[in-house]
Symmetry: C2
Subunit: 551 residues, 2 copies
């Protein structure tokens, strides 16, 4: 029996972190796969990002045999700088060359030194786990699946992937190795289910290259291509298309610049000489000889492309004749920002290509339904566990697998924090950890919880009313008029009458001279009455804050 | 020459309101078309809705010859209760029967009595304007386009539409009338451009009916269909499909219940007897004989479907075997809410059909590119003006029209507030009104402006720090320790140290005994220093509020 504990990555797409446990007698060994950040839900106001809750691992550090990373996306690697300092002890970290490169950049930003080993040594032996990385294709190069073998059986860790038979670097998925282990007998396969709703096969990455060439060919001004910065193969194809039409290439935006540098050092990009120019030199070339590859395809505020579209970028001005290509689709939730970006670029006179008006400027990096069927057919795992999707995707994956003959009890739908047990016959949920949502906000990790978020939410919708009451420090009696100040509630200059009424209301309940006996209770009563009063007057529900000021 | 002033409806899809002006000598007559609400942008925190800024019309009420409504969607009619009270005087309001019915409901909610005339009289003569309504198909029945004739020429007002040759009620668009006016010579056509990015033709509404029947046929539990509540033809088709499979129908949700009632009274719904049951009686029927038509397809918080999905609805409990059909696609910006709804319904055990997993459960009510080409070919207007879309749609429409032979100067892209002049040869922007964004928040109309929103935004992301300082009313000197309270900033119990530091910081700058001389200036200085201090400590930027409390 092996236990699998998703600390993240189930039900929310991002925040991936899996713990594999193998026990023999009293001794348990733990293997960690991935350690990624999560993207906050809309209602987590002000949250920068999420990181997995690793409380479960604290005190168990000496049982951890290592961390293995599947690929270089932030939702699989970028929580390491937050998680490593929380864990006591040093563990070996393993990754493919590019994944290791991206991970080192991330750790460097935090001044964390960690040694990351390359996969080049073949099968990894970490305690009782032996791990064989399987070459796989995805929207970042150098991606791996993992065959995790233990004395009790074998698990296939099939995180983000698609089957691309014409990948840009010619390096196809290692289906022979998959089949080899499949024949030996796989106890369970964890499988990326994000794109299960899409029938058929996802298109090859190389399809995008043809279309980029066609898009760029007849442009008279400069070309701006925006791409997810980790999609090195897409960047390669944009460079190739630019070279074809006699353009120099400049990279703009921190994430793109950094990833390109790392990919070049590790030979994941092949760029002819005299093609790349420094972004500050771009102004020395005529527009018709320029292709800018920029970050910010999701319309993030402050990103390079947003500043360009707002005509606020120092180096790039968009003019009629320029052509902007969105070679990345909006992630659900970002649509409004992306479309605003498109509007603003069009207003500056550029022509803009995006998914609604052009075919295939972007392809998914995830497997469609038939690819999932192919994977299940090659591996023939006894039990399947959909990962990397929300509940509707897992549910759809369950339909797909049961239609292929898996019994209901051999399709295991998990939640984050479930402790799943897997044996040769089936999988089941054995126990459950109560995980916290750990929010990173500025320098704080985990200090923004539900109460703080609820206050932010209320203030965001209705603003705030502050009532400060002067109190005699010696007698504990109210000794003057309350001060009422609001923010985000009503425009104060136009609402003096309302504020005066509010002041009166407070004075009625807490008149001068009143003795403060049980402030907690008195405050609650007053806030309740003010809530009611303000709602009747305005039908708004600002956060009302009552405080005593002693002197 | 005729002037057209969009007070809303250009660049933002919603908030539609157009003023047509005809002048002869000193005398100007004004015709208003539509008066709709807008949906707030994401950053308009706490805004309920938007209404057009009608300042331009104030004082000109005696020149208004009437208001004509094109169709019954809220973004074309629902601002009337806010706008009518702002205008001095009574104007005739004209609409088709169903549009009038929906409008009366909206006005009734506000206790506003207004007389709305039906179109049955044929061509309307309003001052120098004669208006001939053209029957048109859209996602709400009884929609019209308007041919607006003046002594100076004819304008075609082509707001939201598609060409549906197999509409559910059999009432096809009146292309003969369109062609009749087209042959006479149309000076300009305003045209709904929202779906210009979609090549070909939009599917007929009746296509949805076939699929609904198929979806419902084999369901063993109850069926729940969610539909935009004004889409009466969709509701008709859901009823028909329910009847086919021997189910009773109950309507749940205020908007659906009200619209169905109005549509029934006006004979826009044909329901066999003994089919509709009251929602409170639904529990008396076996699930296999039930079809619930519910509001809330956009995942709005508090809506019927959201409460059902959260298992918090009094009357409806979802169980395994039940089937939920989303017969409405998410409006851009609502994706996350809708997908969360789907997840939650699936978790309750229902099977769920939505656009990603089923074909054609929803069709657009707007014309695709070939329908726009057809409209332009029938009407042959000299000048075309795209309306009802964002800038990227207008831009795409311009491409479409110029490829068909219209010259650039005969495709007029407007902004809200532009005063456009149209003559027999062309259209141009003559002048521009500075329009305000009028936000409705609770009972307030227009009292939430940029400053209030900026405060809400900052509080939403970072919370608030309130510093209240006791001051001697007689001497104007600080006479004690500041009180520091926060909300939405950090979890206070864990952050006592930080709050103490903050208090110290304040006391350093404003020590006991200090004389308050120029509070405005002193406050600004202190807030600036505290901003810096808090950012260094936390990398957060809460709104800092400093107030004096005199006693």
């Amino acid at each position: 029996m092996i236990r699998i504990i998703p600390l993240g990555g189930i039900g929310h797409v991002t925040n991936n972190m899996f713990v594999y446990e193998y026990s023999k007698g009293d001794k348990t060994e733990r293997l960690i796969v991935d350690c990624g950040i999560g993207f906050p839900e809309e209602e987590m106001l002000g949250a920068d990002l999420l990181v997995p809750d690793v409380s479960y691992l604290k005190g168990k550090e000496n049982t951890i045999v290592g961390i293995v990373l599947t690929h270089g996306h932030d939702d699989h690697i970028a929580a390491l700088p937050y998680v490593l300092p929380q864990l006591d002890g040093q563990f070996p970290i393993y990754a493919s060359a590019l994944t290791a490169g991206f991970t080192r950049n991330t750790l460097d930003d935090f001044g964390i030194k960690a040694h990351i080993e390359d996969f080049t040594g073949g099968v990894l032996q970490l305690g009782s786990f032996s791990i064989d990385p399987v070459f796989m294709t995805h929207s970042v190069p150098d991606t791996r699946h993992l065959v995790i073998s233990t004395p009790d059986g074998m698990i296939y860790h099939g995180s983000d992937f698609k089957f691309d038979w014409t990948p840009v670097d010619g390096h196809r998925p290692d289906v022979q190795k998959m089949a080899h282990y499949g024949r030996k007998g796989i106890m369970a396969a964890l499988v990326d289910c994000l794109r299960v709703e899409n029938e058929g096969y996802s298109l090859s990455e190389s399809k995008v290259g043809e279309n980029l060439s066609r898009e760029i060919r007849d442009v008279t001004g400069k070309v701006i291509v925006t791409i997810m910065s980790s999609n090195i193969h897409r960047i390669q194809q944009a460079i190739d298309a630019a070279v074809e039409s006699g353009r120099k290439v400049a990279f703009i935006g921190r994430s793109v610049e950094e990833n390109v540098k790392t990919a070049q050092q590790l030979n994941f990009l092949s760029i002819p000489e005299n093609v790349v120019i420094k972004k500050r030199k771009a102004k020395n070339y005529p527009d018709k000889n320029l292709c800018l590859i920029v970050a910010g395809s999701q319309g993030q505020s402050g990103s390079t492309l947003t500043r360009i579209a707002d005509d606020e970028h120092q180096l790039v001005k968009v003019k009629p004749g320029d052509h902007v290509i969105f070679s990345a689709d909006p992630i659900p939730g970002n649509e409004r920002n992306v479309y605003r970006l498109i509007d603003n670029l069009a207003k500056l006179g550029a022509t803009v290509s995006y998914r609604e008006v052009q075919d295939v400027l972007h392809v998914s990096g995830h497997a469609s339904a038939d690819e999932l069927r192919l994977l299940l057919t090659i591996l023939k795992p006894t039990t399947v566990v959909p990962i990397g999707g929300t509940f509707r995707h897992m549910n759809q994956f369950k339909l797909l697998a049961t239609k292929m003959g898996w019994s209901e009890r051999n399709v295991l739908l998990l939640n984050d924090g479930d402790i799943a047990a897997i044996d040769q016959n089936r999988g089941w949920v054995d126990d459950h950890l109560k995980l916290k949502t750990i929010i990173v906000d500025g320098l704080g990790v985990g200090d923004v919880g539900p109460l703080v978020l609820a206050d932010r939410r209320r203030m965001s919708l209705n603003g705030m009313v502050v009532v400060a009451l002067p109190v005699d420090a010696a007698t504990n009696q109210i000794k003057g008029q309350p001060e009422v100040v609001t923010r985000g509630f009503v425009f104060a200059r136009q609402s003096q009458e309302l504020l005066d009424k509010l002041k009166n209301e407070v004075t009625k309940i807490l008149p001068e001279g009143m003795l403060i006996t049980d402030w907690q209770k008195q405050r609650e009563e007053v806030v309740e009455q003010l809530d009611r009063f303000v709602f009747l007057e305005t039908q708004r529900e600002p956060l009302i804050l009552l405080t005593l000021v002693k002197s």
